[in-house]
């Protein structure tokens, strides 16, 4: 009776409380989306309270290959996109402060 395609893989996401992002919980097998939702509640939220619950069919997610995942590790030299790329600013401010103290700038 076509059991191979009977179950499908679903990924479960939930938000613990307001202000938090959705987090991946785990995956489960279910024959359809509604059952996946019911089973996600039963499997993962028997005690802890949650604000929101999503189930997504795994085949609808664009997953990464190992090569892609390992390629991500290479992302470096991106300091210019972050505050830490501008660590020299206090030194520049100091220059002006010293100049004022030695009377270089009008009071």
């Amino acid at each position: 009776m076509g059991k191979e395609q009977f179950y499908e893989e679903y990924e479960v996401f939930s938000r613990k409380k307001d202000g938090l992002s959705l987090e991946h919980r785990f995956s489960l097998l279910a024959p359809n989306r509604e059952m996946a939702f019911v089973m996600a509640r039963e499997n993962f939220f028997r005690r802890e309270p949650i604000k929101e619950l999503w189930v997504v069919k795994r085949s609808d997610i664009r997953l990464m290959s190992q090569e892609e995942r390992e390629g991500f590790k290479k992302l470096d030299n991106k300091a210019y996109r972050e505050t830490k790329g501008y660590a020299n600013l206090p030194k520049l401010w100091k220059y002006f402060e010293e100049k004022r103290e030695t009377g270089g700038v009008n009071p």
Binding site: F6, Y7, E8, F26, L28, P31, N32, R46, G71, K73
Partner: protein, 326 residues
Amino acid sequence: MEVIHYRELTDEEKYEHFMERIENDEKIEAGDWMPDEYRKALIKLISSHGASEIMGALPEKEWVPKAPTIDRKLSIMAKVQDEMGHGQLLLRVAEDLLKPMGKNREDLLQDLFSKKLKFHNVFHMPSPTWADAAIIAWLVDGAAILTQTMLLKTSYGPYGRALKRICQEESFHAKHGESLVLALASGTEKQKQMLQESLNRWWEPLLMFFGPKSTKDIGHSSVDINMKYKIRFKTNEELRQEFLTKYVEKIQLLGLTIPDETICFDEEKQEWIYQQPDWKKFKQVVSGNGPRSDARISLRRDSYDESEWVREALSDYKNKNQSLVG
């Protein structure tokens, strides 16, 4: 670091890269390249762990209708449900590993019914009294917690994530067990005797739970392979010693007697000396020839067969309404 182009690598290079990742404590994910030996070791470990959770719910399940108070009924019911949930998580992890081999959950269940898929020795044993429910939750879960905590750092990412969740729930199981044992140990003479008799029944299976010390005892062991790939980090004996350190004193404190006159801590060697369990019996039990093996496996099979109509109905519904579902 260079970008790896998997298709251009030879098998040896892939293996080398894989081992480098293991050495660097990277987590391996389901779709990653892995040596066959690693995949097989994971499948064996995780599918029997999953089967143990499912079969492990059965000895306690017998006590759900007979729990002495409504509070006890609620907590043992919650525990039984948790164990089934653990089974769900672990089978899911095993299924993703089995996928490239063309196998699925159905195959795992059939293997369980045919005794090809093994589960822990303790879940083949009878639980004739309420004190057995207490000893199981306190000590069997206590033993399982030691094993599962050791596995938390496992190199296989999905297994580690499942275990994290399982361990959180296990801490409730341990408290539930402690509470049951403390109630009986401070009860009537009859209750104390019931607890002692249950400990007598469970002591040998508990020592067996961790598996034999050396491969000599049962002929083969996957511990070495699992350690090589950082799937696990401690030997069977190390875990058993931890168990004794954690529980022997507590058991004695409750006024119970451990059914082993030789048990003592060797200060010089810094290890527990104890009567070795009968490893031949162990092998026999885990092969599906324990006192309750057949009854519990057939209970599981009956429940599977009886729910076949639900799967049939859902399957028909799905085929007829492809556009409505999923």
